[in-house]
């Protein structure tokens, strides 16, 4: 966070309103995009809006670095009566991540949509994209449990539609989107039920107000049932094993921009909310410890092993990456389940690293898809000779996924291992090692086909993607490399987030 302290990017009057502008900007942009006359105009609106959201997010991060947590009372009604946005280091980190991914996705969508989305759908697609962006940003900034549900559903309803748009390329996107809608809504409803239990027990919905009241209640079965409902509900959205069934079809069928955006933000925002509830709201105690040790950690370990195995036996590249995402969610939750500052910091760091590398991988797959219908690993044979730059960016993302040295993935795995050793949890280190080896196998299969095999696609030749696609792609893979060498920025954000969660800093 220290890096943001000297950052004054907006005039004070604007900075004071920045928390709500981060959310309102994309919502207004979404209306403007829906009203624009054509796809290109909508794209320009989308990029400008995303730039604005990122600008405001940086302004918020600067304020958080200087002041600690910010409370922003919506409509001037003071919390805990009114709805409040509450932004601490963790929220600011997530907002920065989501806004940056949002901007890169918006840039990328200029060309990528042309091959994947019907022309008449492009304006509405941009509108839906901005609604999603607003939903995710709202989710990580709000300090109110029910408000979080509303933002969760704003973003989810947007993503259902965005996934369904993928039918232009592959009609399986439609049943996948429907399936996602069913599971997502059941998850959100369970979350609402859980919040209802907590509200019944405490009489408040403000998270900061709820925490001390829950601590005063002690062992209370309504509160514990609430936690169970909330984690199960959010677990669906976060693709926590074994609630990840919807994710495979959705990632595989959606337009590649949507896969990028979902992989980098959707599951991450839900993980954020789980971590926020488990560490920030629920009182410490035997129940929470048992929950982390006997439910969260084993499920996360199962995700790492089982989904990595499934990725090895999968033919389609997008589905391999989707299985890999579930496994990587496992890595993040393993870090969090240690319940130490180092473990949480490693989890948040891993979360950022995974967003960058999975973003790069899905963008590269989308870059190939512009010129050639490549779906299976065999289709990817020899593609590196035809589209060397995209292939290089894919290779960087893949190296980071495996955890090769000099990439951010390496540092992320390294900090996970060291925090597990510190906590004395040797079995987590073993799971990490097995998971990394399995990752190497499925990633190696794709890379081997791309770089060392002759093309088998017949007459169809891939060509290099346009610059508009390559720039955001290189930003993602470049950051994966840059943060692998100098991780000051993500590490300081992760450390600040972890100390906030563990109650060591405001």
């Amino acid at each position: 966070m220290i890096l943001f302290e000297a950052l004054y990017v907006a005039p004070p009057a604007l900075t004071a309103q920045a928390p709500i502008l981060v959310i309102a900007g994309p919502l207004i942009g979404a209306c403007a995009a829906a009203l624009s006359p054509g796809g290109r105009t909508a794209w320009v609106v989308s990029v400008l809006t995303a730039v604005f959201a990122l600008w405001m997010a940086v302004a918020v991060a600067g304020e958080v670095a200087r002041e600690g947590a910010i409370d922003y009372a919506l409509g001037g009604f003071a919390p805990p009566m009114g709805i409040a946005l509450r932004i601490d280091a963790l929220g600011a980190t997530m907002a920065l991540l989501i806004a940056s991914v949002g901007l890169m996705g918006a840039l990328y969508s200029g060309h990528a949509l042309e091959s994947e989305v019907r022309a008449e759908k492009r304006t509405l697609f941009q509108s839906g994209y901005l609604v999603c962006l607003a939903g995710f940003l709202g989710l990580v900034l709000t300090g109110d449990a029910f408000n979080a549900f509303v933002f969760l559903e704003v973003s989810s309803i947007g993503t259902y539609a965005l996934v369904a748009v993928g039918e232009a390329r592959d009609r399986r996107a439609l049943p996948a989107a429907f399936n996602y809608l069913i599971f997502g809504t059941v998850g959100a409803t369970l979350y609402v039920l859980g919040v209802g239990f907590l509200y019944a027990a405490t009489g408040t919905l403000n998270l900061a107000d709820m925490a001390p009241r829950l601590a005063a209640l002690g062992d209370n079965s309504a509160v514990q049932a609430g936690l169970a409902f909330i984690v199960a509900g959010l677990g669906v959205k976060a693709a926590m094993f074994p609630l990840h069934g919807w994710l495979l079809g959705a990632y595989a069928g959606a337009p590649s921009l949507v896969s990028v955006f979902l992989a980098a933000t959707a599951t991450k925002a839900a993980i954020y909310l789980i971590i926020r509830f488990v560490f920030g709201v629920f009182p410490e105690g035997e129940f929470g410890e048992n929950f982390l040790r006997w439910i969260l950690a084993p499920l996360a370990a199962a995700a790492v092993i089982i989904c990595s195995m499934q990725a090895i036996f999968e033919r389609e590249v997008r589905r391999i990456l989707a299985f890999s995402s579930v496994a990587q969610v496992g890595f993040i939750l393993l870090g969090a389940s240690l319940a130490t500052t180092a473990g949480l910091s490693a989890g948040v760091f891993y979360l950022v690293a995974h967003a960058l590398m999975k973003g790069a991988l899905f963008m590269a797959v989308g870059a190939f898809a512009i010129s050639v219908r490549a779906r299976t690993v065999e289709d990817f044979s020899g593609i590196a000779r035809e589209a060397p730059w995209s292939a290089a960016a894919f290779a960087v993302g893949a190296a980071s996924l495996v955890g090769a040295p000099l990439t951010m993935g390496f540092l992320a795995k390294w900090s996970l291992v060291s925090s597990a050793l510190q906590a004395g949890e040797i079995w987590i280190v073993v799971v990490l090692a097995i998971g990394s080896l399995l990752t190497l196998i499925y990633v190696g299969r794709i890379l081997e086909a791309m770089f060392f095999r002759a093309p088998v696609r017949g007459a169809e030749r891939a060509s290099e993607a346009p610059v508009g696609v390559l720039v955001p792609l290189f930003v993602f893979s470049g950051l994966s490399l840059w943060f692998g060498v100098d991780a000051t920025l993500p590490a300081s954000l992760a450390n600040a987030s972890a100390s906030v969660l563990m109650g060591e800093a405001p």
Binding site: A164, R171, F178, Y199
Partner: protein, 149 residues
């Protein structure tokens, strides 16, 4: 009184929720699945409304205690109870859960409409809204991947 009588609302919530879930996972028809989902969501509405109910309380619309209506509402209640829980001599139910559930209903309607419109598109693309038939077609699609031009 037994639990069934004092917590009747909550039992209804559980029963409704289970019926919704059962419909959701037993039927293979997408439209019927949406109906199950609607039932499942509605049960949470009942849950929240039950949470907000104060025995003897009325809707949270300002009533004067000395008006006809105010005296009528207060008549069956214990004066100490009114003194303790009332506002200006009238006992109100907690309006916050109502507001929350109003929002949740709007969210539910939005989900329902998106779900149904996806079902319409599925019907256009596959010619059916039966999940089994869609899966059969999908298996053919998946086997063709990588082979068709």
């Amino acid at each position: 009184m037994s639990v069934a009588a004092t917590h009747f609302n909550y039992l209804a919530v559980v029963v409704l929720m289970m019926i919704g879930l059962y419909v959701l996972f037993s039927t293979r028809n997408l439209i019927k699945q949406m109906i199950g989902l609607g039932l499942f969501q509605t049960s949470t509405a009942l849950f929240y409304i039950s949470l907000g109910k104060v025995s003897g309380g009325t809707a949270a619309i300002k009533i004067y205690a000395d008006s006809v209506e105010g005296r009528m509402l207060a008549a069956p209640l214990d004066p100490d109870f009114v003194q303790q829980f009332g506002v200006g001599g009238v006992v109100y139910s907690n309006p916050l859960p109502h507001v929350l559930i109003l929002t949740a209903i709007v969210v539910g309607v939005a989900t329902l409409s998106v779900g149904l419109s996806i079902a319409v598109r599925i019907r256009e693309a596959y010619g059916t809204v039966e999940a089994d038939e869609i899966e059969a077609v999908t298996r053919v699609d998946a086997a063709r991947v990588g082979r068709d031009p």
